[in-house]
Amino acid sequence: MAAEQRSLWEGPTPEDEPSHEGPPEPPTAPAARLTPRILRVTDLNRRVRSLLDSDAVLADVWVEGEVSQPSFPASGHCFFVLKDANSQVRVALFREELARAVVRPGHGMNVIIHGRVRAYEPQGVYQLYVDSITPAGAGDLPARYEALRAELSAAGLFAEGRKRPIPRWPRRIGVVTSPVGAVWRDITNVLRRRYPLVHLVLSPSVVQGATAAPAIVRALRRLYVERDLDVIILARGGGSLEDLWPFNDEQVVRAVADAPVPIIVGVGHESDVTLADFAADLRAPTPSAAAELATPDASQLATIIGRLRDRASLALTGRADERRRFVDAEQRALARLAPDLGAARQRAADLLDRGARALGDRVERRRMLLAATQDALRTLSPAATLERGYAVARAFDGRILRDAAAIGSGDALQVILARGSVETRVERVRPDRTDELLA
């Protein structure tokens, strides 16, 4: 500042900015006129600073104004000028406060700031130091939400025709969420009990504050270049309208719509619907529900593979009616396994409830099923078929015989019975019809 280069006793010059600060006694008091007390610049600035610091109003102010020319240097802090029609003031928004802020200051944005006014000694300026910054009039948010929703909807991002089915048996699931906190824990817990066969790929992101939107976009893009992902989950826990605001950010919504594989968005609670939800292939009412919708239930899978084994046994012994019963049961089980998209959208409570019940009796059910299939297997194995009187005739080279023409008189034969076998030679070959022989 030019003023700093002048000797203090020269007094103010006409082109100096008008000063409204009266209190600090000028060092040129009458008694000191002959021997002026000369302050160092540092001392002057310190004096101004302590004066400002002692003012209770300046230590706790709310200021509304328009952001002008924000800068984001590498330090992670943010600096800008806040102005109205007549005046302006310099503003410092430090990294920690910026991370907590619900908005990232943008040129022309109207904001309300809470903070304190202090002097910055090295530069001889006073600044407003922010501890919270919010958009002026939160009533603004719904209007912006509606405007962006209309715009993106018109651009086709929310079209039903874009929505892809969620794969039934995913091998690799990508997840974008905060690695700390309840949401990530809930997702891993659900998958551990429901479908631990899956490989989770976490792409961590901040999900709150002014830095959240670009961070979510980066985290999504990191997943988009991963190979072999079957489905992606974007999740965040509940919060205020401002907390969930990053999920209404245009870049986030567009990044969701860009997903190369089906994406499930589970943000907040059932009643929270963000624009990212609209752009997703499937909207889950909560993060836990997103994990459930992405996977089959392994306890039902145990049932299904058990039934398959029973069917194999029945097929071998030719009990067609029982086989049909098992096919029906398996098909019903498979139908239940497919994610029910319509119901999922509307009935989160039901889903969670079902999950809880499944957890409760899963272990017992699986144990009983296993025991039952083992019994079935024992009675229906090939050995049991022989036990019922069938025999297997094998030629000397191991071929199983099913046509008398394949063997000649005098050939060696092995006849396998339920207990032991008989080695014998063919006396005579009779190409009669089997049904006549059995009659």
Binding site: R168, W169, R171, P179, T188, L191, R192, P196, L197, V198, H199, L200, V201, L202, S203, P204, A219, R222, L223, E226, A298, L301, A302, I304, I305, G306, L308, R309, R311, A312, S313, A315, L316, R323, L370, L377, P382, V392, I400, R402
Partner: protein, 84 residues
């Protein structure tokens, strides 16, 4: 029958290492093959034996499954496998 054919020559350890969904589909195909009724006893017994192996592999996978987690973005290198 592709899944079943691919898996038929694997030993038990290799079988268990296959993706779970592949095992289930192969088991389904095996059972359907048995049920089709156009196979002889020899092949039936072979199918049945395969079905049992596939079923055992599925059971093992379900029993031993542990969630695998990879975190991206650690110094830009994907991979560090962590069990959470």
């Amino acid at each position: 029958m592709t899944h079943r054919a691919e898996l038929a020559d694997l030993d038990d350890d290799e079988l268990v290492a296959r993706p779970f969904d592949e095992l289930v589909v192969a088991l389904q195909e095996t059972v359907q093959g048995l049920e089709a009724g156009n196979v002889g006893l020899e092949e039936s017994i072979e199918l049945y034996r395969q079905g049992l192996r596939l079923h055992a592999a599925c059971e093992t996978r379900l029993r031993l499954a542990e969630l695998t987690i990879t975190e991206l973005g650690r110094r830009g290198v994907a991979g560090a496998e962590t069990e959470a």
